[in-house]
Symmetry: C2
Subunit: 352 residues, 2 copies
């Protein structure tokens, strides 16, 4: 049976163009069938510009509403019952697709996914995990990068378990190291949240290496870094901004002398390589972990390449069975340890 | 009268070598006198390796204790009454020097400075302000980058006033724009702290442009960005880590083909330019704003160039009279507005 992915055709800032082009590319390259979810008439019109759509496995599923970036998540989820997000997530819940991809509103995606698919038993809050390139050969997973703000210590403990499983399932890391993002390596450094989370994390049966700092995101010293979603999202956006600035400054520097212009020309290929390794669109979207189903959230500024890669990530996640493994994890002794640790810290494990 | 700067000779990770070399360079290039504060015997021994010390205005001031990076700030401040930090800050309080520089423990520097010098009236918590290079012609000030964690909304309002004054006093920006670091531009986006701080900030007589995102730190869209010190420190360390990774990857990419090796050779000069613009040691240390005196905190990994530049920053700060201007600001109608706003938000202005 063909792998089917439901794609929110109206998510990105320039939707539905990148979505349609990304879907066509994914159908061509990965042999997946893509369900384009959004206003049927508009999508039909757009598809007419792409002759390949007639022979590739692309189908439109109608959804009359669209959640925009400036809406409040909770309100949008309540009021727009026929949004492209909600319809797309229902397709996964109803087994019409094995995964969902959106480049839309992260908060709305998280809230809708939790409502439509439900969270895995033992998971209070699903979280967004993002893969960062490092100067070492292996990537680093940062969790959460924006699905939750004002997280509780037990949320961070759950993020750690999910992130560690991600590293094992998708990258095959044997005993992934897990670090807590803080502002100093010593246990006492950090804020109230990290100090309480530290106490929980060190009692979990994970390869917990203690506090790590921002610089460790890029040096390959740790496989999984755990943080609150506000901090993680700032980390992500700071990185994007810096990469943009580096590119700009590099271009500018290379313009400054004739000698370096020649150099620039000759080393263009090297820059393309370099750019690719730091381009988030190459890594595809970020999975929402802890749900009863696969949901991948892409960047609002996604281009067709990013959408194509997010579809690849959705396929890979569904095939890896990571959700089933996270569920097992939470019903095994690890979860028990987490519950015990949380209780010992005077925190209730279930929070909402 | 000669400008005198007190330098914690024992602050950096490789102290006192970078401190001594940085002090000599600063004395030579900026015409300042440097008081090297630390264990006299050790410093004397080290100075013997530098013949120029005999004719440059360098003096040793004895301090028998050193606060190390792994100590708890509060405890170190209480127990080490003769630390190089404390003795150095006393020199400023007693008008023996116009500014203090350390590359040591940020938390200890903040706590000691607050105790020895005192905070300016109206300032609950001094904050560390850091200048970031942007792809535009002007820099961006991020405040706080690590002096405070678990900040209250009124702390962020005070950081905004101090940061704005920094931008005006040191960079001569006329009406600096001030943004609140969050994870979405809309007022409703963010966490509890940012939503409450937003309400205070919009009532202050500042050029407040609302929420900004991590990427705005590097694109020159805003002059001053306000955040809690945990978030700001993560932002700083993430940036440092990414710059390191970029340098490494670039070097690696450029090695990969003969063509790009030639390119690398030709464009070496351009890379040096580029590196300098992103090298924090070129920008010197970060000032602790809101104190009755000038205190500059450098990076623990400071080299002699960073120390030299931190001394330059201390001199520039002392000469700008920024503390006096911040004090005026807090006793003028602006501060009144802040108090009113804080009261309206149901927060007590004075917190500790």
């Amino acid at each position: 049976m063909q792998t089917v992915i439901a794609l929110d055709a109206m998510g990105s800032d320039r939707a539905p163009k990148p979505e349609i082009e990304g879907a066509l590319a994914a159908a061509r390259h990965y042999g997946v069938k893509v369900l384009l979810v959004g206003p049927e008439a508009q999508l039909k019109r757009e598809l007419k510009n792409h002759p390949s759509a007639s022979y590739l496995p692309i189908e439109i599923v109608n959804a009359s509403q669209v959640i925009t970036m400036d809406e409040k998540a909770a309100q949008a989820v309540r009021s727009k019952r026929d949004s492209s997000m909600r319809v797309g997530l229902r397709l996964v819940r109803d087994k019409k697709a094995i995964g969902f991809v959106t480049a839309g509103h992260t908060g709305a995606a998280m809230a809708t996914a939790k409502m439509v698919m439900g969270a895995l038993p033992g998971v209070d809050r699903p979280a967004l995990a993002m893969v960062f390139p490092t100067s070492a050969a292996k990537p680093c997973i940062l969790i959460d990068v924006g699905a939750n703000v004002d997280s509780k210590p037990q949320n961070l403990a759950q993020f750690a378990i999910m992130g560690e499983m991600y590293s094992r399932s998708i990258f095959g890391t044997e005993k992934p190291t897990v670090g807590l993002l803080s502002i100093g390596e010593e246990e006492t450094k950090g804020n109230e949240l990290t100090r309480q989370a530290y106490a929980l994390l060190k009692d979990l049966p994970l390869n917990f290496i203690g506090n790590v700092e921002g610089r460790d995101l890029y040096n390959g010293h740790v496989d999984v870094i755990v943080c609150d979603g506000f901090v993680g999202n700032v980390a992500l956006k700071i990185s994007e901004g810096l990469v943009e600035a580096v590119r700009y400054l590099l271009k500018e520097s290379l313009k400054s002398t004739i000698t370096s212009q020649v150099g620039a020309l000759l080393s263009r290929r090297a820059f393309v390589d370099f750019g690719k390794r730091l381009d988030y669109s190459e890594y595809g979207g970020a999975p929402l972990l802890g749900l009863k189903g696969v949901a991948i959230v892409g960047h609002g500024a996604s281009n067709n390449n990013a959408i194509k890669n997010a579809i690849r990530v959705a396929k890979q996640f569904a095939e890896s069975g990571i959700n089933q493994r996270i569920e097992q994890e939470f019903t095994s002794n690890r979860a028990e340890a987490a519950v015990v640790a949380a209780a010992a810290a005077g925190e209730s494990w279930k929070e909402d």
